[in-house]
């Protein structure tokens, strides 16, 4: 990984409210687990039922999230200062596009498009031949592996 990546991208201001939102989401997850566990049917046998562990885990998640939230609000939180992540967002959009294409045009074709897109984005169009060669060899290997070695159908 010694190749220079994309040019330094402008990053936003640290968003201090994000950790608070994150701990609130965790707290919500804990409460949802408790609520979900309470509506699960009780067992008719000696078993404690399918809701007992989710209930206990939900209580633990809610309690620990509450501690994190209080610590964050009182300025003793451990969470990092978050900055806007433009590069991460672009990569994520490419990844989501790749996943969305798989059922439409198949895994091999979408893999070729995704890999070419990532390499052209990071390296620029100047190295398109290298990118194309790597992509074709990789896609060929994956096709051969699934078709002849694991004998598994590809989407």
């Amino acid at each position: 990984m010694s190749q220079p990546g994309p040019a330094a991208l402008p990053e936003g201001r640290p968003a201090r409210s994000i950790p608070v939102v994150a701990w609130l989401v965790c707290l919500g997850f804990g409460i949802a687990l408790i609520a979900g566990a309470l509506i699960l049917p009780a067992s008719r046998t000696a078993d404690v039922g399918p809701g007992r562990i989710p209930l206990l885990v939900g209580v633990a998640v809610a309690a620990l999230s509450a501690v994190c939230l209080i610590r964050q609000l009182t300025g003793r939180g451990e969470a990092a200062e978050l900055a806007k992540s433009r590069t991460a967002m672009i990569l994520l959009v490419l990844l989501i596009g790749y996943c969305a294409l798989i059922p439409l045009i198949g895994l091999i074709t979408s893999t070729v498009i995704f890999m070419m897109a990532v390499m052209l984005w990071l390296d620029g169009v100047g190295k398109w031949l290298r990118s194309a060669l790597i992509t074709i060899v990789f896609a060929g290997l994956i096709y051969a592996l699934f078709t002849w070695v694991i004998a598994t159908p590809l989407p």
Partner: protein, 498 residues
């Protein structure tokens, strides 16, 4: 026993036995490298090819695949933060930072050496303690299994990151996510939202791919864009460990091997839990625990010794009692049955060349692994020098393909991406990922034994205290959780006095 060892050695050191050992090791390493294809799947795929083989040769081939795959899983853990299998996930924590510091070859060599030491010690333990250790494993009832799982979670959670609260929260969220799926006891759907893909729950391997590899690639690229990531140039030169490195790391390899054998014997724990416990043990005994997660060599040697020594440990209940204690030994058991052999004590009497051949292969295959692994280390280390653009494109494509291959479901691809986003968010929030991964891996062990214990005790929770083994493990868990708070309190007290 001596006659058995001689018969087993004759099978392994025959021309065909040796050939199958080498072929199996090569296949095993490759199987280990592929994300989503673990040793059990690798062995299962090979079983049809063993139909026409002599049973001893078939077992030599399968055991070599098993040993090779346990090592091979660490290669991608170190180079690209994609564990080849669950047992290699703990290796990512320090192996990958070592690769980022330009020490990929060293990390790979430590992993190989530790795997070999673990393999030899696991094999020796298998030979020496076959009977007594199998008896000890039988004393573990559901309460003890539940308690030991809680101990593993507490240890990794409380001591996993900078803050024990964050580590425990990560473990708890992991358990919460793992509750998704059809309840195996009552067949009630839990949090599946009517999606049939969630009936079997969240596959741990898919979550591991997302949490480690996808998140790592997003983070690496983002840090590079922010100018915060500097990857040192790789130095591929002499790869063998120096005498000083041997002296420093041998104790961790011994400790890891003991943990691996112990968790290998106990059904359900296996090499994955063993490698996490070994990682935690190393961090606790280390004089520089703050280095863990940043490229501590002992963070690679401990877990790697554990996952390979677990091979020997897992064969103990299979050979002594006929009980497979993990998916891999279940595959081995089915292979034995396919060849007309019943796993268990009778195997020693009826087919000593097969039974002792298995044990001799576990020990001797290590020598083949060491030679083969060392030949390949410079090649693997060059992978770390691949340009970032190619690395990101190839690794993310591998993640997606690996996630799909776990159950052949497109749904799992989305799961992997979702876990990737979650893993990246956790990195930003400084929530450690390891406790969540462990929770996802051992959830069935936790819940199954919790409920079985309460069924035995008719709902009385005191069973967890009245069972001496369970009480001991739960006390240890409480101490592990309280330790970071207590040590912080005493440190403050000492500072106040000073």
């Amino acid at each position: 026993m001596l006659e058995g060892i001689i018969a087993g050695s004759a099978a392994v050191f025959s021309l065909s036995g040796f050939l199958y050992l080498i072929i199996g090791m090569l296949i095993g390493i490759l199987v280990g490298v592929l994300p989503g294809v673990g040793p059990s799947l690798g062995m299962a795929l090979l079983i049809p090819f063993t139909y026409n083989m002599v049973p001893a040769d078939a077992m030599i081939l399968l055991i070599s695949v098993y040993v090779g795959a346990e090592y091979g899983g660490s290669i991608t853990s170190i180079l690209i933060a994609v564990p080849g299998n669950g047992a290699a996930a703990a290796t990512v924590l320090d192996g990958y930072p070592m690769a980022k510091q330009g020490k990929a070859a060293l990390a790979l060599e430590i992993s190989l050496t530790a795997s070999c030491v673990g393999g030899v010690l696991g094999g020796i333990c298998l030979l020496l303690f076959l009977q007594p250790l199998a008896g000890m494993a039988l004393r573990f009832g559901p309460p003890a299994y539940f308690a030991v799982s809680i101990l593993a979670l507490s240890a990794v959670g409380a001591l996993g990151g900078k803050s024990p609260i964050l580590g425990l929260l990560s473990a708890a969220i992991g358990l919460g996510i793992a509750t998704i799926g059809v309840d195996p006891i009552t067949s009630v759907e839990r949090f599946t939202f009517g999606l049939p893909e969630l009936d079997e729950g969240i596959p741990a391997m898919v979550a591991i791919i997302g949490l480690f590899a996808v998140a790592e690639m997003i983070d690496a690229l983002q840090q590079k864009a922010s100018g915060g990531l500097a990857i040192a140039a790789e130095t591929v030169g002499r790869t063998f460990l120096s005498l000083k490195q041997w002296r420093e790391l041998l104790p961790s390899m011994f400790r890891g091997s003991l943990v691996g054998v112990g968790t290998g014997i106990l059904p359900g724990l296996g090499s994955t839990v063993g490698s996490w416990i070994a990682y935690d043990v190393e961090r606790r005994v280390s004089k520089t625990p703050e280095q863990f997660g940043k490229g501590a060599p002992a963070g690679v040697s401990g877990p790697e010794a554990a996952n390979n020594s677990a091979v020997g440990g897992q064969l103990i209940p299979l050979l002594a009692l006929g009980l497979p204690s993990s998916p891999s030994t279940a595959v081995l058991a089915s292979a034995l049955i396919l060849h007309g052999l019943q796993p268990g004590p009778a195997l020693m009497l009826n087919a000593p060349s097969v039974a002792y051949g298995l044990i001799v292969t576990v020990i001797f295959s290590v020598a083949v692994l060491y030679v083969m692994g060392n030949t390949m280390v410079p090649f693997w280390a060059r992978v770390a020098r691949v340009p970032e653009s190619i690395m990101v494109a190839v690794v993310l494509a591998l993640c997606i393909i690996g996630a799909y291959s776990v159950r052949n479901l497109v749904f799992d691809i989305w799961l992997a991406v979702g876990f990737g986003v979650l893993g990246y968010a956790m990195k930003l929030l400084r929530l450690p990922v390891a406790p969540m991964v462990l929770s996802l891996v051992i959830f069935e062990l936790v819940e199954g034994n919790f409920r079985r214990s309460l069924m035995i005790a008719r709902g009385n929770y005191s069973i967890f205290i009245s069972d001496p083994l369970s009480a001991s493990f739960l006390t240890l868990s409480a101490l592990v959780i309280l330790w970071p708070f207590a040590s912080k309190y005493f440190r403050k007290l000492r500072q106040a006095k000073a």
